[in-house]
């Protein structure tokens, strides 16, 4: 307990928000992550690049607690979260989106954004609506506007277009008021204009918000991030500033020939 508190305090001082220590994930014989180390600071804007199957989403799942690593440690704000289930992450200010949208398809856009907030507050066991509820509703509608869904707040999520569902996915992460946001390919399936809007939205986030971004669209990734990490076959193969990554020969080697595929041609 004491050492935990000490670690937490030192993490706070050094501004370190997330530490991954030698994280390994094996699915049967397949090693999706082969000992990844990563440190993310408060206010960091980090983009995660890599070809299909590199292990990016798996890394997200480990950080978010959706899967437990085979070995290694996940430390968030100095607290060892390796064994903690996913539902404790929001209390640490962590929010994520999913590559394949996970929405409440039978509920309206507003209810989706409302529910996203109640989990963290413990309000979801309540049988009565209260003042807090009105606040959540208001914030839900405001967020709908932020992610360009203002005119469909009353529409059932399952009836939204693909692009709108992607936008709602992002809104559900942002509406929780997170300190640490993880976005898994937020630009996939969006039109060129929508991508531009998205970049502007990401750039407009509060400077205190830490952002971890998986993105196949190099343009979006390199503009939104201050730091880039490149993964391949479960390992970190390069990291640096966007400018460094742009000219890194190794990165070019990995992406060579698939550059066109990386730009938008997503399944």
């Amino acid at each position: 307990m004491n050492t935990d508190a000490a670690t937490a305090a030192s993490a706070e001082r050094s501004g370190s928000l997330l530490n991954l220590e030698a994280v390994v994930v094996a699915f049967g014989g397949l090693q999706a992550l082969g000992g990844v180390d990563l440190e993310v600071w408060k206010g960091d804007r980090l983009a995660l690049l890599g070809p299909n199957g590199a292990g990016k989403t798996t890394l997200f799942n480990v950080i978010a607690g959706d899967i437990k690593p085979t070995s290694g440690r996940v430390i968030i704000k100095g607290i060892d979260c390796t064994e903690l289930p996913a539902r404790f992450r929001p209390r640490l200010g962590v929010a994520r989106t999913y590559q394949k949208t996970r929405l409440f398809r039978g509920l309206t856009v507003e209810d989706n954004l409302y529910l996203a907030q109640t989990g963290r507050s413990g309000r979801h066991l309540a049988l009565l609506r209260s003042g807090v509820d009105a606040e959540f509703r208001e914030r839900a509608r405001a967020m709908a506007e932020t992610v360009w869904l203002a005119d469909v707040v009353g529409v059932t999520a399952g009836d939204l277009s693909h692009g709108q569902q992607r936008q709602l996915e992002i809104g559900m992460a942002l509406v929780t008021g997170p300190e640490f946001v993880m976005l898994d390919e937020p630009a996939s399936g969006l039109s060129r204009g929508e991508r531009e809007r998205l970049v502007q939205l990401l750039l407009s986030l509060d400077v205190d918000i830490t952002l971890l971004l998986i993105e196949h669209d190099m343009d979006v990734a390199l503009r939104a991030a201050q730091r880039v990490m490149v993964m391949n076959e479960g390992e970190t193969v390069a990291s640096g500033t966007p400018d460094e990554i742009r000219v890194d020969p190794l990165v070019h080697a990995i992406y060579l020939g698939s550059e066109a595929g990386l730009r938008g041609a997503d399944p």
Binding site: R87, F104, R105, G106, G119, R123, H124, L127, D159, M172
Partner: protein
């Protein structure tokens, strides 16, 4: 902002009124009024047997619909839970000197009701907690296992269930020799259960339950305790099934292990399926069709001619269920919904107005 924003309160209350006066609510209110007035013109048999049974089965089936429509859990344990309440009432109320079986505690019938509901709720909580980590077909299988185990448990613990069951279970004085009162009480209870489930759907608890139905993984990552939530919903449904069970045992005057065997368990599922597992109203509709078929189809003249005996009656019900499911996966409620939409489209066409507003809400929220 916009000038219409000046009186949001009035607009809001008008919207609330419009929502309350939806076609669905008006039909439900009319059906309720009809049910309440029924004793004035219905035959005794119809009121005291057909409709009383309909209300009991309707409440029990509504708990299946509630769990399925809002929680995405198809439970086969609801009839067992009703049976638990029934056995508890039986053991508690039968007097020591009565010619019957069971514990014969001889309690006041209302105390017995509280006791039965408390036990049923506790049992539902435990069973729900054990099943809450599963979904879909696995949840169905676990609850089916509960039903089977429950049958054997009551069958083998004879001090609790008697050999041939507990007989001579009298309802409280309020209902004894007043079957019409019992019927009216069941109508009121049905309305309460129906309204409670529908109101629950828009509370924070109910919305979270629907979120869990749609995507439990997302809910967990948003900080929800998914299995606790499922457990609580199951417990609530268990309590409500217990209410149905109490009336059921009052109405029957007896209960034995066979009455909670796999047959009646599946019958209740059939009731829910006939009505439509996604529509609360469907529970009572399905119950009515099922009970009516049970009571009247047997007496049709052709039944003897083509040799449909008691034993083959289940085949008829089976064919009926199959037909409804082929016509509409959402049961009778789904069929009615489609007719309603079709009529509206006809009206729109005849008015010559082009495309009306899209029916975004249709069939999405139960």
């Amino acid at each position: 902002m916009s000038p219409t924003g000046a009186a949001p309160g009035r607009a809001q209350s008008r919207r609330t009124l419009r929502r309350l006066l939806s076609a669905r609510n008006v039909v439900v209110a009319a059906a309720t009024a009809l049910a309440l007035l029924l004793p004035l013109f219905g035959s005794n048999f119809f009121v005291e047997f057909v409709m009383t049974r309909t209300m009991i089965l309707g409440i029990a089936a509504a708990t299946i619909v509630f769990l399925a429509a809002y929680g995405g859990m198809v439970s086969l344990a609801q009839y067992l839970l009703a049976g638990v309440a029934g056995f508890m009432v039986g053991n508690a109320v039968v007097a020591q000197d009565a010619w019957s079986k069971g514990l014969k505690l001889g309690w006041n019938p209302w105390v017995a009701v509280l006791f039965a509901l408390a036990v049923t709720t506790a049992v539902a909580f435990v069973l729900g907690a054990l099943a809450s980590r599963t979904t879909g077909i696995y949840f169905l299988m676990i609850t089916l296992t509960y039903a089977v185990i429950g049958y054997y448990v009551f069958g083998s613990i004879t001090p609790l269930s008697g050999f041939g069951g507990i007989t001579g279970i009298d309802p409280p004085g309020l209902f004894e020799d007043h079957p019409q009162r019992m019927y009216l009480a069941l109508v009121v209870l049905s309305v309460l259960v129906y309204v409670a489930f529908r109101v629950l759907a828009v509370t924070p608890f109910g919305l979270a339950l629907q979120g869990i139905r749609d995507d439990p993984v997302r809910m967990a990552s948003l900080g929800f305790n998914v299995s606790l939530h499922r457990t609580l919903a199951f417990t609530l449904a268990g309590f409500t099934a217990g209410l149905a069970g109490v009336f059921n045992v009052w109405w029957n005057g007896q209960i034995d292990p066979t009455s909670i065997s796999i047959g009646p368990t599946l019958d209740l599922l059939i009731v829910a399926v006939i009505g439509g597992t996604l529509s609360l109203e469907g529970a009572w509709l399905g119950a009515f069709v099922f009970v009516a078929a049970n009571n009247y189809l047997r007496n049709l003249p052709l039944v003897d001619h083509i040799g449909i005996t008691e034993a083959r009656f289940n085949t008829i019900v089976g064919v009926l269920v199959l037909l409804i499911m082929i016509l509409s996966p959402d049961g009778l409620a789904g069929i009615i919904d489609r007719i309603r939409l079709g009529l509206r489209r006809l009206v729109q066409l005849s008015r010559g107005s082009g495309a009306g507003p899209p029916e975004a809400a249709a069939g999405s929220a139960p």
